[in-house]
Amino acid sequence: MAKVFEGVKVLDFTWAGVGPITTKYLADYGATVVRVESKTRPCILRTTPPYKDAVPGVDRAAYFAIYSPNKYSVTINMNHPKGIELVKRLITWADVVAESFTTGVMEKWGLSYEEIKKIKPDIIMYRTNMQGHSGPCCSLPGTGVNLVGLTGFAHLCGWSDRLPSQPYGPYTDSIAPRFGAAVLIAALDYRRRTGKGQLLDMSQFEAGVNFLAPLMLDYFVNQRVADRVGNYCPYTAPHNAYRCRGQDRWCTIAVGSNDDWQSFCRVIGNPSWTGDGKFSTILGRKENELELDRLVEGWTIKHSAEEVMALMQVGGVATGIVETIQDLFQDPQLKHRNHFWVMNHKEMGPFPHLGQAAVLSETPAQPRMPSPCLGEHNEYVCREILGMPEAEFDQLLVEGVFD
């Protein structure tokens, strides 16, 4: 099967979420991606639970492994002059240098864009951090979990009469990689045609706000400050997550048009309350939404979430199970789509890596290699990729160039 990015070489200094998710697109579609890591300061994804069998270990952390199939790992001692020298040789090899440190880290190593360009004039340097590489906040440390606050998603998650809810995890880390990868691939194409590399600077804050763009327009035009409103939808009801039979089981129901409402009533057997004038119009349903929600839940609670979804979908109503993390691994649709790539990981055994969210008819993404153990490819990268003689590699090893 053809590999889209066959021959594209990426030297990947990224860590945490955004960078590794971005370079995953390149790796899964055939690029050679070499992660530069450190044993002294391992990537935070390698030191975050969950671990295989709950036993901590840099090669047992799912968070790292899910984004790292098809990638190589080297551990280079960046405090050793020969470490920097080795990195510079890899830059000569690479088409793309990717990094996601706060401003100053690459510069400290003498690896600013200007310096890298001297080594490889047509290099594409992809940089991403919290707030970009200029401005008063460019060096402020933080993670995507902080950005969920700064970008406004936390304010918008939860119920109006409660504290904001923090959406799980570093939510903006799921947004930024899409914008980043699209531009990075465009830059690769541009370079292929023109021979010119360039510097890409991605602020995860700026990317995140793009997912709230209409609300920002609403503020600038109408001076409205959007608030969290639970699961309510401004122009329709019923629209919520409803409790189903079982322990903390839920389903969503989203009734849109009046036709949807008729279908919904048919599915639940047209009980008498659905004929009440209070609920026959959309304005009535919105006005009496709390009461309506209680009545809807009076029906859902008698059924399992799976039953509610099946009955409603047959009746043509948008409904779904609120899937727990256990449900996700049993979801027949995700299975059908090959959402998880099970490969034999060196330390964890058979492990479901994250696949790709699209199927390309000619060049589907392929699981070729499980996520690497920390520093697994030090020798491979030096000997096979750089063509280093064995004696030289052994010498570097002895001198402590590998971390």
Partner: protein, 414 residues
């Protein structure tokens, strides 16, 4: 003179709100994107909010935001004339994006196999709730349904209330942005081989990315993570650890990290609290270099939480964030739209764009590009199209006369 990377490429965008963002991103990268609507306008123009709260299909701010950098035509692709015109457009196009239910395009004779016969290099990107095939492929969906089925909903909200979504719909934006990347992958392949292909995007899978490592707590540890509101789930000790704190005029985001990651922040915050007389002997006695959130007991944490909460409540968001910036520590505001609009960092980086809306006789402020590219700068070159705004221009490019257009309009084709 800089050039946008995809200049000279043409996109036919048939999507509704499930896929707007895909075309928007391709447009940002330089494509000429033609948004194709049904005669009378796309139903997605009814999505609010609206300019000056006037619920008019020409004034949807949702439409504005995600259809900028596109031209617009109306075309009924279900009519025979419409199909023929569409096929002519496909001949000159590089991309087609659509978000109809699976099978719809095929039934019209406009599926991938037909389009690729007209133009073998065409890339057809299909964005659907669950993908083109599989047991749920014909299920009806919405943002809320997708957020439930991708796994994020269950992980968000207060434990005593239903799982909750982000109040502004997100799932379709994940689908659209994901589709843009996958389309670019197909584009790169086409540019090197001349071969187009069909890109089949699942919104459920795209939104799944926002669950991060959570599902693997089940896979590796057989633990089901639960929603924890302003607190944090997934800690090994089971300690309820706060992430969101009330302050004087709103909320603060401050997840406490232990170890090397959190040591500087925690030490400097403790010193700052001490300086203002809001610490105690216990807090002063903590060695932050060895402090480990993974080991902390609920009793110790509750004591710390009370002190920190009191301190935050004595300060505004602005005071806390500007001092955090000075101290270089990880304390962030929970921003509202107003805070984001007034953010100094965004202002310094000239993030906001002014986009002319001649029909409104003013320019509106839009969020800027997600990526600053040194050679190929990305921005908004044109506002979103009005209904059928470029019919004459585009149909003329196709060789249709004004007389033809009158006939097609009368027949309800355009």
């Amino acid at each position: 003179m800089s050039q946008l990377p995809l200049e000279g490429h043409h996109v036919l965008d048939l999507t509704d709100d499930k896929g707007f963002l895909c075309g928007r991103i391709l447009g940002d990268l330089g494509c000429d994107v033609i948004k194709i609507e049904k005669p009378g306008g796309d139903p997605s123009r009814r999505i609010g909010p609206f300019y000056k709260d006037i619920p008019d299909p020409k004034k949807s701010l949702y439409w504005f935001a995600y259809n900028a950098n596109k031209r617009g035509i109306t075309l009924n692709i279900e009519s025979e004339d419409g199909k023929e015109i569409f096929k002519k457009l496909v001949k000159k196009a590089n991309f087609v994006i659509e978000s109809f239910p699976p099978g719809y395009m095929d039934n019209l004779g406009l599926g991938y196999s037909s389009l690729s016969q007209i133009n073998p290099a065409i890339i057809l990107t299909s964005i659907t709730p669950f993908g083109q095939t599989g047991p749920y492929s014909h299920y009806r969906a919405s943002d809320l349904v997708e957020m439930g089925m991708c796994g994020l909903l269950y992980l968000c909200g207060d434990p005593d209330l239903p799982p909750v979504r982000i109040s502004f719909p997100q799932a379709y934006l994940h689908g659209g942005a994901e589709a843009a990347v996958q389309t670019m992958v197909a584009h790169y392949y086409r540019e090197t081989t001349g071969q187009g292909q069909w890109v089949d995007v699942s919104i459920q899978q795209a939104a799944f990315l926002a669950t991060f490592n959570a599902p693997w707590f089940w896979e590796l540890n057989q633990v089901i993570l639960k929603r924890a509101g302003a607190w944090r789930t997934g800690l090994t000790t089971g300690v309820l650890q706060r992430q969101i704190w009330p302050c004087k005029d709103g909320y603060i985001n401050f997840p406490v990290y232990g170890g090397a990651l959190g040591a500087r922040t925690n030490r400097r915050l403790a010193e700052w609290m001490d300086k203002e007389g809001m610490s105690d002997d216990f807090l002063r006695g903590i060695d932050w270099d060895t402090f480990d959130m993974g080991q902390v007991t609920q009793k110790v944490w509750s004591h710390m939480e009370r002190l920190i909460e009191k301190f935050f409540q004595a300060h505004t968001k602005e005071e806390l964030y500007s001092e955090a910036l000075r101290l270089n520590i990880m304390i962030y505001p929970v921003s509202t739209a107003k805070d984001i609009a007034e953010d100094k960092q965004l202002e310094t980086r000239e993030y906001w764009l002014q986009v002319e809306h001649p029909e409104l006789r003013e320019s509106l402020t839009y969020p800027g590009a997600a990526v600053q590219a040194s050679l190929t700068p990305i921005g908004i070159r044109r506002r979103a199209p009005l209904i059928g705004e470029h019919n004459e221009e585009i149909y003329n490019e196709l060789g249709l006369s004004r007389g033809d257009l009158v006939i097609l309009k009368e027949a309800g084709v355009i």
